[in-house]
């Protein structure tokens, strides 16, 4: 079922909606949304910035997971904003240990559940940012995947070290200006393309790998649900825009996340037991410039660099959608 296609902005309300989706799809989206759990396991009062994409990623993940999970988090934005002692935003058991070891901690939690005979009742969900996942936490994650622990690992990707004030990570895209990859007279910002983490994870031959976006909540939650269902490790890489880090108005979080998908900057797919499937194909391919110009971190980019990025996307688009 192409749940992802049924995103709200495409909902066709006869009078006002600009989207061109059929009434049928609109109906389906609404029906599915009604089925989403109303239980909120990520409490209000967390200190995430206004319009935080990652906070939404957490909220939705917990909606999909339900309360029988143990959450493990590495150090990062979401850990800091959700657990200022003596307060906590977590209504599920939660542990934070350090920056680089969430996957190792999750491995230990899972092993304990096995040893204590609680494995069938309780799932383990690790949720880390891109820094804690693709950079410093990479080794522990690779170990966890290779050992086959029954853990779902979600990486909320805001494409830089946002917690410490926007320093580049391995997940920062080409051309993005961060405080450690600033644009200058001889620099156009980050000079290396984004690390293709989902592919690297998939190379571990684990049962389930998916990409997701906070703009496609049903698609994302369905993937979380699937990931929890499979036996063995599962990985979801969810793009989560960051208003202060990317430089845009907080209201545009979802709009940008959707634009990333519609321009081909971010592709929604899943790899189930080695079989790859695109879960959403944009109806119209938008020029990447639209996405880049909407963010301060790309504002310095020259036509040349934008052209280079567009060409990369075109190549990928062709491979994925037109082959």
């Amino acid at each position: 079922m192409e749940v992802a296609a049924d995103i709200p902005s495409y909902v066709k309300c006869r009078k006002v909606c600009k989207a061109k989706l059929s009434a049928n799809r609109c109906f389906k989206f609404r029906k599915l949304l009604k089925k989403v759990s109303e239980e909120e396991l990520f409490s209000k009062g967390h200190r995430a910035c206004s319009g935080c994409g990652a906070a939404l990623a957490l909220r939705l993940a917990l909606k999909a997971a339900g309360k029988n999970v143990i959450v493990v988090q590495p150090t990062g934005c979401m850990e800091v904003v959700s657990t200022p002692y003596p307060e906590t935003s977590w209504k599920v058991p939660y542990i934070h240990v350090a920056f680089e070891n969430a996957a190792a901690v999750a491995s230990g939690v899972e092993a304990a559940l096995k040893a204590l005979g609680k494995k069938d009742r309780v799932k383990v969900l690790a949720i880390g940012g891109d820094g804690g996942t693709v950079d410093i936490g990479f080794q522990a994650l690779s170990g966890m995947l290779e050992r086959g622990h029954d853990v779902v690992y979600i990486c909320y990707d805001n494409e830089a070290y946002m917690n410490t004030g926007v320093q580049r990570s391995g997940s920062t895209p080409l051309g993005a200006a961060t405080t450690t990859s600033p644009a200058g007279k001889v620099s156009f910002g980050e000079d290396r393309p984004k690390k293709d983490m989902p592919r690297i994870v998939a190379a571990h031959n684990i049962p389930y790998v998916a990409t997701a976006s906070v703009a496609f909540p049903l698609d994302y939650m369905e993937k979380v649900r699937k990931a929890l269902e499979v036996k063995g490790p599962a990985y979801i890489h969810v793009l989560a825009p960051c208003p202060p880090g990317w430089g845009y108005d907080s209201a545009k979080t979802i709009e940008l996340a959707r634009l990333a998908v519609d321009t081909g900057m971010w592709i929604l797919y899943e790899i189930e037991n080695g079989k790859e499937r695109i879960t959403y194909k944009p109806t119209v391919k938008k020029p990447v410039e639209e996405y880049l110009r909407a963010q301060k971190r790309f504002r310095h980019l020259s036509k040349d660099i934008i052209q280079r990025i567009q060409e990369e996307i075109d190549k990928r688009w062709k491979e994925i959608f037109e082959s």
Binding site: P8, S9, V11, C13, K15, V16, C17, K18, A19, C26, F29, R30, L33, K34, V36, E38, E40, F42, S43, K44, G45, H46, R47, A48, S50, G51, C52, G53, A55, L56, R59, L60, S82, P84, Y85, P86, E87, T88, S89, K91, V214, P217, P243, D249, S250, A251, K252, T253, I254, E255
Partner: protein, 89 residues
């Protein structure tokens, strides 16, 4: 003498973050036009603060104690049934 807490006491002191009202961060607040609402649920599902309250059929409201005023709900509403208005305090 200062009191060393036992481990269970350290945990007993913990409370929900709902004790901290983030509503104070807000500059603009969302205002709902029920007439225009088509009950799609976009505002509810996209709120990072889970501060949209489902009151009934095509009837949504906002929890002003927690809403940070990001404006995502208004931006995502397909029928423009939500407007962000400057809040007078």
């Amino acid at each position: 003498m200062f009191k060393a807490l036992r481990l269970e006491e350290i945990y007993e002191k913990m409370v929900s973050s709902e004790e901290y009202k983030t509503g104070g961060w807000r500059t603009f607040k969302p205002v709902f036009d029920k007439e225009k609402c088509i009950d799609c649920g976009s505002c509810w599902i996209y709120c990072p603060e889970n501060s949209i309250i489902k009151k009934g059929k095509a009837d949504y409201d906002v929890d002003l104690e927690f809403c940070k005023g990001c404006g995502i709900c208004a931006n995502e509403c397909p029928t423009e049934a939500i407007k962000m208005v400057l809040e007078e305090k």
